[in-house]
């Protein structure tokens, strides 16, 4: 299993490098497998354990166009023990990556907030890499409601 994953991620890495500045046309809906691949691209072969990181996102969302999220990692954020990066992924958006943030001891607090787009009811995953090279994750299932009145994109 691990061999197949690293093979896939290696091919993807070469492909992505080749694509360069061009947008890669993806199927209209990504799958849990493409999310897993996107996560592997960031984490490589490292084991990703649940814990330490917390993804706050409303479980029920009125409109998928601007969903507030906050990602927090418990960490003293000292020069010896800090969060190196935070990444967020979605299961069903056309593209799995949402945001990738680099942090360091100067951050003082390992927390970021932003607003994201969710295409459908789905799972959102946040992972972080610590200074000791370990990876941690959290996931939340989000339900989306749709507007009652449809409108033209004027």
């Amino acid at each position: 299993m691990p061999d197949r994953f690293s093979a896939i991620s290696a091919t993807r890495r070469t492909f992505m490098a080749g694509a360069g500045a061009m947008l890669v046309v993806r199927p209209a809906q990504a799958t849990p497998a493409s999310m897993a691949a996107a996560i592997r691209q960031v984490a490589g072969d490292a084991a990703i354990k649940p814990g330490k990181i917390k993804l706050s996102i409303p479980p029920l969302v009125e409109n998928g166009n601007a969903v507030a999220i906050t990602v927090t990692v418990e960490s003293p954020m000292t020069a010896k023990d800090y969060v190196k990066s935070i990444h967020v992924f979605t299961e069903k958006n056309p593209q799995s990556n949402v945001i990738s943030t680099k942090l360091g001891p100067r951050a003082g607090k390992a927390e970021i907030s932003t607003r994201i787009r969710l295409a459908d009811t789905q799972q959102v995953v946040a992972i972080c890499e610590l200074s000791d090279g370990t990876f941690w994750s959290d996931k939340v299932d989000v339900i989306l409601t749709l507007s009652a009145c449809l409108e033209d994109p004027i």
């Binding site: 166009n65 680099k102 100067r106 390992a110 927390e111 970021i112 994201i116």
Partner: protein, 107 residues
């Protein structure tokens, strides 16, 4: 009109205090997956990165993908180390580059 930015950095802080920094910039963040009303794909046009420096030293950097909502709003933290300038640089598709900065006094 040039992209408008709204930065919130505390004007004053104590040395060593962890401060919240909020950034908001106007940008359509066209995700590249939409089609116009005759079916033609609308090309992607997003901000792809935001880098923040504090008196020239990088304190925060992030890569943004199409899933970031229009008018990207990002809140992050940094330790108030010294008086000076916190500078932001956003870059994106189609040569998009915007700079902004805020001053902070650290006691």
């Amino acid at each position: 009109m040039v992209a408008r930015t709204l930065i919130n950095v505390p004007a004053k802080a104590k040395r060593g205090e962890v401060i919240a920094i909020k950034s908001l910039i106007s940008h359509i963040m066209e995700n590249g997956f939409r089609h116009d009303n005759v079916g033609k794909p609308i090309p992607r046009d997003i901000i792809t990165s935001m880098v923040c420096t504090y008196n020239g030293e990088e304190i925060f950097s992030t890569t943004l993908y199409p899933a970031i909502a229009a008018n990207p709003f990002i809140t992050f933290y940094t330790v108030a180390t010294e008086t000076g300038t916190i500078a932001f640089k956003w870059t994106g598709d189609n040569g998009f580059v915007i700079d902004a900065s805020a001053k902070i006094t650290v006691e």
